[in-house]
């Protein structure tokens, strides 16, 4: 079974403007989701709760990190960068299955149960389903 590792050194590779870009995109889409819901109703606004807000920024960052890592050893890093971004996107597609179950729990229980329990439970379910899908995919 593949081991999951935590590597804090990657944080040193990330420049401050990379963090700023993700903060701004995340903040903008959250604010935009509120504005859209106000203008077109919660049905349309709710769609944007699963908008890939920082996906382009994250994929670009991963591609850049992997390319630079390879190039620092005097090798061409284009293919490595693309491959890393592709693998990350595959992981996100598995995470989106968990995201569907998050939304399902919110839609079914939020109106009649305690909000913090529903949101906490839905987040735990997102993580559980996502990890389970990832493990099944790895086992195949």
């Amino acid at each position: 079974m593949m081991r999951i590792q935590v590597n804090f050194s990657t944080l040193r590779q990330t420049r401050w403007h990379d963090y700023a870009v993700r903060f701004i995109f995340g903040g903008l889409i959250t604010a935009l989701a509120g504005i859209i819901a106000r203008k077109f109703g919660p049905g349309i606004g709710g769609l944007f709760l699963a908008f890939p807000a920082i996906f382009p920024a994250s994929a670009t960052l991963i591609e850049k990190h992997e390319r630079e890592k390879k190039e620092s050893h005097g090798l061409k890093g284009e293919a490595r960068g693309r491959s890393a971004a592709s693998i990350d996107a595959a992981g996100s597609s598995m995470g989106s299955i968990g995201l569907f179950f998050f939304a399902l729990v919110v839609s079914q229980f939020l109106a009649r149960d305690r909000a913090w329990i529903v949101l906490g439970g839905a987040t735990a379910l997102w993580l559980g389903v996502s990890v389970a899908v990832w493990q099944i995919r790895k086992a195949l």
């Binding site: 509120g34 491959s83 992981g91 597609s93 839905a122």
Partner: protein
Amino acid sequence: MSQSLARFIIGGAIVSAFAIIGDVLKPKSFAGLFGAAPSVALATLAMTIVSDGLSYAAIEGRSMMAGAIAFFIYASLVSRIMMRYKFRAILVTLCLIPVWLGVAGGVYYLVWVR
């Protein structure tokens, strides 16, 4: 205006927190799970519950399911195209945003409007 600003700050903070978790995890496919974290949803729902109530937020959660289906198709397409063709990530991820919009809107229309 002040509510949008609060949403911007809370949303930016939660999205950044999940992104940093994804940054430090290995392997890449596992870290990628956090690219689909419910970060925008948590920030938005928390604010919506306070301003508009639980039932309103539950309706947002319902149509979020359509958004999640669109996210799955979007991320799968990005992965396939990045693996098969020599395009830059920024180009692929941005050009496929209309696919997310189309699928999310289409599923919403077919399931809840029609």
